[in-house]
Amino acid sequence: MSPFVTLLSRDIRLAARSGGSAALALSFFALVATLMPLGVGADLHLLARIAGGTLWVAAVLAALLSLDRLFQGDFEDGSLDLIALSPLPLELTALAKITAHWLSTGLPLTLLSPLLALLFNLPPPATLMLFVSLLVGTPAVSAVGAIGASLTLSLKRGGLILPLIILPLLSPAVIFGAGAVSLVLDQLGAQNALGLLAAFAFAAVLLSPFAAAASVRLNLGG
């Protein structure tokens, strides 16, 4: 197996087994979606209107929960030093970790979203758009999040600073993702929004491994 696949499958197994961060993220996602109607009332018309934005924000926050451990666990027990010494370039290491994070949180969140959309009375075409936009957009959350995780990996209170750093940077993903759902809800074409979201996600996945690798390097004392 290539080092990339090895690292990827190791990280996915770690996410699935130790502490079950994927399951925690899913429960958090479902809980936020449950609390929202309790907060704003059970008016089905209103819920359908806010479903796209609420579920998008909840998905970003849920993915954020496990982000601070993206590099930190490996940093603390020293395995990050060994991974850095391996023939795999740090940029690809970062990409493997981003992919593993997406497969263990972004993808399950996306798969759960139609069920939660049902609770929000979102019509089927808009639900499909929510599903597609989360599928396209959540990789950007993992990618931009990896930059924040690598910058704060040596900090003890990194989990507190991480949201402050990356949430403003993720605002385009929320805007285009939730915007696409609203457009479908208003029976307008959402191709533009989806295209812009895809462009943002593509650029984020392409560029953030470099930024993440640079900041892992400096935190390893290079």
Partner: protein, 235 residues
């Protein structure tokens, strides 16, 4: 480039900035005083009335808020690529000033919004993207303060500043796209009459000089602080 590296030497920088500082400070005071005087003596705008005065304080603050982030990004690039030792200090010193300009822009913007739009806060594209800019400044400063090792903090924040610099135009674009989707308020933009243009330009120059003055003072203080620390460690 040669010019930049000459003043990478803190000693050279202290000498030059010590000379420039009084002129910048006096220039800032003059521009701000004359600009405010001209602004207050300008006739009320036919649409905005006396509230047009707020714009003389608001517009330069908003311009500076973006400009200072640009300065931080350039300093960060210098520090990452050429390991320019002074630019870390300069980037760190500029951040609170930029955040203050952003806050000033937001406060004056909402004070202007109350009589104009009838509410203190409107989810207008510009207001919203400035609020996000403020959070970017806050995150940048929080990262600086959280990391103990200064060289490490300098490089980490430089990476963050550059990521932010790439992302800010995208955020601005996306917020504008979002605003048209949600049909926000729009302001009728007209040509600016000379009675308003002169004080506005003076205020902009004044804000710029004020930033340069405060920035230099902060950089000089940081350099002196470092020197004092080295002396204490030597003893």
């Amino acid at each position: 480039m040669q010019f930049l590296f000459r003043y990478a030497n803190p000693h050279e920088f202290m000498r030059l900035s010590g000379r420039i500082l009084p002129f910048a400070a006096i220039g800032a005071a003059l521009c701000l005083c004359v600009g405010l005087f001209l602004g207050f003596s300008a006739p009320p705008d036919y649409q905005q009335g006396r509230t047009v005065l707020i714009l003389f304080i608001h517009v330069p603050a908003a311009t500076m808020a973006m400009g200072v982030y640009g300065a931080i990004a350039v300093c960060s690039l210098l520090s990452l690529v050429w390991r320019h030792p002074l630019s870390d200090i300069a980037a760190r010193a500029a951040a609170p000033l930029g955040a203050l300009f952003t806050v000033l822009g937001l406060i004056t913007g909402s004070l202007w919004g109350k009589p104009m739009w009838g509410t203190y806060w409107v989810w207008d594209a510009r207001l919203t993207s400035f609020l996000l800019l403020l959070f970017i400044y806050l995150g940048y400063m929080a990262l600086w303060n959280a990391m103990e090792d200064e060289t490490r903090a300098a490089r980490a924040t430089a990476i963050l500043a550059l990521v932010g610099a790439v992302n800010i135009p995208i955020i601005k674009f996306s917020v504008e796209w979002w605003n048209t989707l949600h049909q926000g308020e729009s302001i009728v933009s007209g040509k600016l009459a000379p009675v308003f243009l002169a004080p506005l330009l003076l205020m902009m120059a004044g804000y710029g000089l004020l930033f340069v003055t405060l920035w230099m003072i902060r950089i000089r203080t940081a350099i002196l602080e470092r020197r004092a620390r080295t002396l204490m460690q030597a003893n």
